[in-house]
Symmetry: C2
Subunit: 340 residues, 2 copies
Amino acid sequence: MNIEQFTDKPEIILTGDRATGPLHLGHYIGSLKQRVALQSVHDQTILVADMQGLTDNAHNPSKVSSNILNVVADYLAVGIDPIKTTICLQSQLPALAELTMYYSNLVTIARLERNPTVKSEIQNKGFERSIPAGFLTYPISQAADISAFNATLVPVGDDQLPMLEQTNEIVRKVNSLAGKTVLNECRPLLSKASRLPSTDGKNKMSKTMGNAINLGSSEKEISVAVKSMYTDPNHLKIEDSGCVEGNVVFTYLDAFHSDKNYVGQLKEHYQRGGLGDGTTKKILEECLQDMLRPIRERRAEYLNDKAQLVDILAKGSQVSREKTEKVLFDVKDIFGLNIL
Amino acid sequence: MNIEQFTDKPEIILTGDRATGPLHLGHYIGSLKQRVALQSVHDQTILVADMQGLTDNAHNPSKVSSNILNVVADYLAVGIDPIKTTICLQSQLPALAELTMYYSNLVTIARLERNPTVKSEIQNKGFERSIPAGFLTYPISQAADISAFNATLVPVGDDQLPMLEQTNEIVRKVNSLAGKTVLNECRPLLSKASRLPSTDGKNKMSKTMGNAINLGSSEKEISVAVKSMYTDPNHLKIEDSGCVEGNVVFTYLDAFHSDKNYVGQLKEHYQRGGLGDGTTKKILEECLQDMLRPIRERRAEYLNDKAQLVDILAKGSQVSREKTEKVLFDVKDIFGLNIL
């Protein structure tokens, strides 16, 4: 599914980020650019997921709280417009926690343990049997987030598809209990961009592993990051032919350089030999510096006026509170609990 | 611990019932009488637990919703005074769901699976691996209930002690994260009454197994229940000596008859022979009819004016909402989330 399919029919879109670190180029190419495009046509809400951020950071909560406004500044800096997109804070929406409680009765522990996304995250985080309950059950909370907005379209990476499956299972159970359609099933909007590798080429970019170029990175940091980027380890002399597959510099040029023909020529040159890594890195650095300079500057301005960021988040949360309370009312109605 | 120890020092008491059926004589002797005594001295809140009732009834929600007002009528009928005791509805207090979410990050799945109360309930209900997530995690929700009121004293049966242990573990973790005492640890108030057996002598009384005498049972139902009560199966002729141990008629006489000497004489007579089950049952029935007649009548009056019941529950829920929101604010503060 790609964006164009939806442009003539407005969809309810829910998307968001865990507030566990500043956003980076991976977010920019994987989701932020898409959100800027989507906001003009669709009813888009971005949830700053502070509560979900705590599911594996409860003992280090400042990792979450200190990043909430940073993330909002990242959004605004890349062109997400709070008039067109509702930006809200998860912990400000009690209906999400309440829906999570109701949905928890409709999902078994065995089903949660089978969720492939959660399974692999549990492995990555080394939790084994010491999984916090909130971590194992976060697909339920995510289903609450999505359905509380009655979202029809959810931008995701393909690793997140099992989460949407689980959401739709819950939605179907709720609708079946109601005997009518109370909640919308959602469809995934898969990002067309392939996942951006980390600068060292080893992993996906991580907010916390020091292998990412953040939207707020300084000129110096960008320069250092590009200079240390993983290329072709067998490309020892300039005149040698080099490999562009897995060469992070070329992956980034593909992702960010505006002139695709020029990048094509560079690749050919690199492959036949005679193009040094110093030169390709210089070209990439210039491209990234040009792209990130205005974003960094706008980001700094926004962060200089935290009252404004708080205001944007408060207003978006108020709008979202009303929406989500309505859905909660409908779900409580199914359980016969609107008696007061 | 018994009630008298606390009468000179007011405690914050949280207690409650799952709204999954009408209350019966087991509740009366095990908790309701105690609540009537406690309400004059302590700050007592009774939580009608509709959300917790759904943890194993989500597919049959009317079992919960249809019993909410019945349970409130039961309370009022036995003398719980809404001026002295706050009666509130769990689903009206979003802070309880929100606290549950935060606490979920502090408790592992392994710890929940070790909870002896939950373990035995899972076995009784035959859930095995198909445990609803909300059922496995309900100790966390119960910890949210207790701590949201900052309760210091929680009346429980001894089978519920592991729940309070788990609550206090969470309280200590929260306080440790805060670096100060934000939440009170709670102490159990164990009922002095031993658990009332079912009329068939097989189990504890159950709201749903048809072996209980409810507070709202009709004269006829009480009569039938007493006549079919389990006595001494070897006491075949009136002149035979009979056994009072495990003889439900005597257990009930011990629990409900006001004249303990008279009950003592009956027991001796029964043991030495010459006292028939018909006679003891007649004495018990008269005692229960006298006790339950005014309760049944008051209960019916209250249920005749549902608007009043709704009003009592709405007012108590409003008071409780304010209390629990304050505690939620303090807990969110620990996680740095009061930024808006």
